[in-house]
Amino acid sequence: MSVRVGTADFDVSAEMARIAGNDTDIGGVAVFVGKVRGRADGQDLVSMTLEHYPGMTETELERIETEAQHRFNLSASLIVHRIGTLKPGDNIVLVIACAPHRHDAFAAAGFLMDYLKTRAPFWKQETLANGKSRWVAAKESDDTAAAAWRSKPAD
């Protein structure tokens, strides 16, 4: 179980090999990669800058990972989140969930992303082709997705 926050890009295969290692109890690995879209609300995007709250970010990501361990039968997991200025097509976030069976891997990856979206202290600012910058507004659908997990108690 680990979390990492930084400006560097990640290599999905290398990260997967690193956390799954030689654990032959793992029967399934779910990987999610979040990327920067080139368009936002019909406008071309030049870049996206991610700000975060150093200290709280790592603490909160670890809390989210611990919660996932309680809810699902997980063998290993990883959250990597980038900060700084990124271009369309760049990777933003990587979530890997390894489990003996696929249902736990899929569900845990979904849970980690839903919680990260509503609890980890990151903020996105978009710079548009017209030269303007704007802070991305939080989506109600993200709150709804996280709330749906809360109504499902951990086993």
């Binding site: 709250y53 709280m56 603490t59 509503t118 980890a120 939080a138």
Partner: protein, 104 residues
């Protein structure tokens, strides 16, 4: 007849209830509106909850009045943990204010 001197124990300032020095942190558009990411502040003793704190910010004049005009739109963390408006500030040393998060 000698009057017994009245002994009045005094507490150090930092232990007095409700009045303590804290670090306030601001992020994203809130940081931009306020013009700084961090300030040290001794909170008025009347502030006990997160909600009290949000409403106190509005009373601080420019630029806080505009930045905190919609307190419901602002989230608060006490010592790196999310806190609801009803939460008690207690002995938190670092209090952060920010818009709803948008990572991932």
């Amino acid at each position: 007849m000698t009057a017994t001197p009245q002994f009045r124990p005094t507490k150090p300032e930092s232990d007095s209830p409700g009045s303590r020095e804290v670090v306030l942190r601001y992020f994203a558009w809130l940081r931009e509106k306020i013009g700084t990411g961090e300030e040290r502040m001794t909170l008025p003793p009347t502030i006990t909850t997160v909600s009290d704190l949000l409403h106190w910010q509005v009373t601080r004049g420019h630029p806080f009045d505009a930045a905190f005009a919609k307190p419901d739109a602002i989230r608060v963390a006490l010592d790196h943990a999310h806190a609801k408006p009803t939460a008690t500030i207690a002995n938190a040393r670092e209090i952060a204010f920010f818009p709803p998060v948008t990572g991932g």
